[in-house]
């Protein structure tokens, strides 16, 4: 495993980039404004790109530079642009009826991060510096997952749900850069493209929702139950 030989400078660079992206997920949780979500998501993607580049540089994985550029391009520019377009098309500026207020969702989010830490610690058997980075990476990977699920469940706007999904995927992407930088590039690239297709599909569906269901809020999607 590449982390086994990591030195303290590298460890701290990886850790701070990862922690910053977790913080950005909290920015998304704490805001009502849809545009803020998108900006936070874009910033998070740039951080992940920086992380890829850093891992590529220190670990000697040349192909990660390409992944970094693609990440910055797709997740940092194209996806946010698509999302902003959908938002302006929809005329919805903020989350109106979230189940949880931003303040309480921040608290729940903090609890989830603690839970993620417990699981991460359980899964790790490395010691010393490598252990720190591993536990941190796993914690952030799982917390982003849980925070994404939290956003999906307490927010109702279609855009928030798309962003919740993207946060889920960001968690995996971030963790995999640190834990498995050697993963075959083909797979990472395909997953990147896959995301693009997902968002395109979502974009089309959102339009259908407006036209045929008359709402983009999942609170009002209540016809099918039981």
């Amino acid at each position: 495993m590449f982390l086994a030989h990591v030195n303290s400078l590298e460890a701290s660079i990886f850790s701070s980039l990862a922690i910053l992206s977790l913080l950005l997920a909290f920015v998304m949780l704490g805001s009502h404004w849809l545009r803020n979500y998108v900006y936070a998501f874009a910033a998070e993607s740039w951080l992940i790109a920086a992380l890829s580049a850093a891992v590529g540089y220190f670990g000697g994985y040349r192909e990660l530079y390409a992944i970094a550029i693609l990440t910055a391009l797709f997740r940092g520019l194209v996806l946010p642009w698509l999302l902003v377009r959908i938002i302006s098309h929809l005329n919805v500026k903020r989350e109106m009826h979230a189940v949880l207020q931003p303040s309480s969702s921040l608290v729940v989010g903090a609890l989830l991060v603690m839970f993620a830490f417990v699981i991460a610690n359980y899964m790790n058997h490395e010691t010393a510096t490598a252990g720190h980075v591993v536990v941190l990476a796993l914690t952030i990977m799982i917390s982003l997952k849980l925070l994404g699920f939290l956003m999906l469940s307490v927010r109702n706007e279609a855009i928030s749900q798309i962003l919740g999904l993207l946060v889920l995927e960001n968690g995996i992407f971030l963790g995999s850069q640190i834990l498995v930088p050697g993963m075959p590039m083909l797979i990472e690239i395909v997953i990147l493209f896959d995301l693009l297709i997902i968002v395109a599909c979502f974009g089309m569906l959102v339009r259908y929702l407006v036209v045929h269901a008359g709402t983009t809020s999942s609170r009002e999607l209540q016809r099918l139950v039981g």
Partner: protein
């Protein structure tokens, strides 16, 4: 040989999809789809024979693996694809969506293509992508009718399934990470490599990875409590699509669970993994049984029956052993046939009566003397009664359960089988023999819609009376492969 047949199998739906899009002729599109589907069915069977004779084929730099298990699932998918594309000819003409039909058939064949692709993937990461693609394509099939309900169902489908399946991706990455301790930082994420390294991976890591994968693909397979998208998607999509979602897609996702179960086989996680699969299976079964009893909507009734049967398949896989695996594989085939028949029947009823409400569908036999009889017999079959095929496979799974560690689950299974039987058939009794409302109207094109019902019914009856010895030996070999990988 198997590789060439696989090429034909993939080319046929691809050509049908592209030609439908380019030519934009509804009639040509529907016949092309039927032709492609029939070709796939015809090709898939010799593919299995060839794999049986010459062993599995690995191609395209190790990314493609044509093995017995995958080919078996492909046969089940090909059967549903063939039956429902024939049914679609009769059904989709009723929808008054003539200009959008080519698009429908293109998506339909594309959907089949992605499911076939999932079956031959040798790389856990690419398998995940294939499964994700099935979601993206089928979303638009679910929402095809563009009414408020179907759009809502499509939205819930894509949100719930994509988020669920992202857990499987996390699990896959963790599997890869675990393997990298043994195989070095870069290696091909094939099933064999993952299995080879699994025994040496730190056990808690392996356990968490497996759970994530199980929940992820379990969401796609419709295991409760992640099944919430399923009743909506299955009930709101056009009937041929419902049949594909239920008869084919669920099998493709179960394949993922089976493959990962084989990956962790023989490790210290294996026992826990089997228990987890059994627990999800029995929970799905019980929950679906309860929802079946109080259902008022005919297509949701079928959808919950899918949850029930996917629970049965999970039980079989979890029980394990030759009986469990053979029962599951037989169940896949029988469920594909029987559930297609059921969705076709409910599609007919829904169109004739103009409602999905069970209480407004009455005197079915007066509206559909022949195909109505098939639907009723199919209902008896899907409730698990002899002499139909599902009885045999459920009985095998039950035997597997009674002889192992999970006797409690097997007993619960029997009890709730009775609940399902009573619940399911009482709905059919009221639809057939309560004489309150006037019968439905007769619609044109019934021949197209009755033919696939006959084609589905005949094998259900035959396979229920006679379990071919060859099939049994195929299952025994697949099962020893699954366990054999495990040792």
């Amino acid at each position: 040989m198997a590789y060439d047949l696989a090429l034909i199998l993939f080319l046929a739906p691809a050509i049908a999809a592209i030609a439908s899009l380019i030519l934009r002729q509804p009639r040509i599109a529907e016949y092309l789809t039927v032709a492609a589907a029939v070709i796939d069915l015809v090709v898939s069977i010799p593919m299995l024979v060839s794999v049986l004779r010459n062993g599995p084929v690995i191609a395209l730099h190790g990314y493609v693996l044509i093995d017995m298990l995958g080919t078996w699932v492909m046969i089940c998918i090909a059967i549903v694809y063939a039956l429902s594309s024939i049914y679609a000819v009769g059904y989709m003409r009723l929808l008054d969506e003539e200009p959008r039909l080519p698009l429908f058939y293109a998506l339909f064949s594309g959907f089949a293509f992605t499911m076939f692709a999932a079956c031959v993937m040798n790389n856990a990461g690419v398998f995940w992508i294939a499964i994700e693609l099935t979601t993206l394509i089928s979303t638009f099939l679910v929402g095809f009718e563009r009414e408020a309900e179907s759009t809502e169902a499509a939205w819930k489908y894509i949100v719930v399934v994509s988020s669920g399946i992202s857990l499987a991706l996390l699990g896959t990455v963790l599997f890869y990470w675990g393997g990298s301790f043994v195989l070095g930082p870069t290696y091909a994420m094939t099933w064999a490599a993952l299995h080879q390294s699994a025994a040496q991976v730190y056990t808690p890591l392996l356990t968490v990875s497996f759970l994530l994968v199980l929940v992820g693909y379990g969401t796609k397979a419709g295991l409760a409590p992640m099944h919430t998208w399923l009743p909506d998607a299955h009930s709101e999509s056009p009937a041929p699509v419902s049949a594909m979602l239920s008869g084919a897609l669920l099998n493709a996702s179960m394949l993922g669970i089976a493959r990962f179960l084989a990956v962790v086989g023989g490790t210290r996680t294996s026992r826990f993994a089997h228990s987890a699969v059994v627990s999800f299976g029995i929970f799905s079964f019980v929950l679906a049984a309860l929802f079946i009893v109080r259902q008022t909507d005919v297509k949701r009734l079928m959808a919950y029956s899918s949850v029930e049967h996917i629970g049965v398949q999970a039980l079989g896989l979890g029980f394990g052993g030759v009986l469990g695996v053979a029962g599951t594989l037989y169940h896949m085939l029988n469920h594909s046939l029987n559930k297609s028949l059921m969705f076709f029947g409910s599609g007919n009823a829904m169109r004739a009566y103009g409602t999905k409400d069970i209480s407004r569908i009455r005197s079915v036999l007066r509206t559909f003397p022949a195909s109505g009889t098939l639907w009723l017999l199919g209902a008896v079959g899907i409730a698990g009664a002899p002499p139909f095929a599902l009885f045999l496979s459920e009985f095998t799974i039950l035997r597997a359960g009674m002889s192992g560690r999970y006797r409690w689950a097997a007993i619960l299974f029997v009890v709730f089988l009775i609940v399902v039987f009573i619940g399911f058939l009482s709905h059919f009794r009221s639809m057939y023999f309560d004489q309150t409302a006037e019968p439905g109207e007769k619609l044109s094109g019934l021949a197209w819609r009755a033919l696939p019902m006959w084609l589905a019914f005949a094998p259900i009856l035959i396979l229920g009376l006679w379990w071919p010895q060859h099939l049994w030996s195929v299952f025994a070999r697949i099962s020893s492969n699954l366990v054999g990988v495990a040792q």
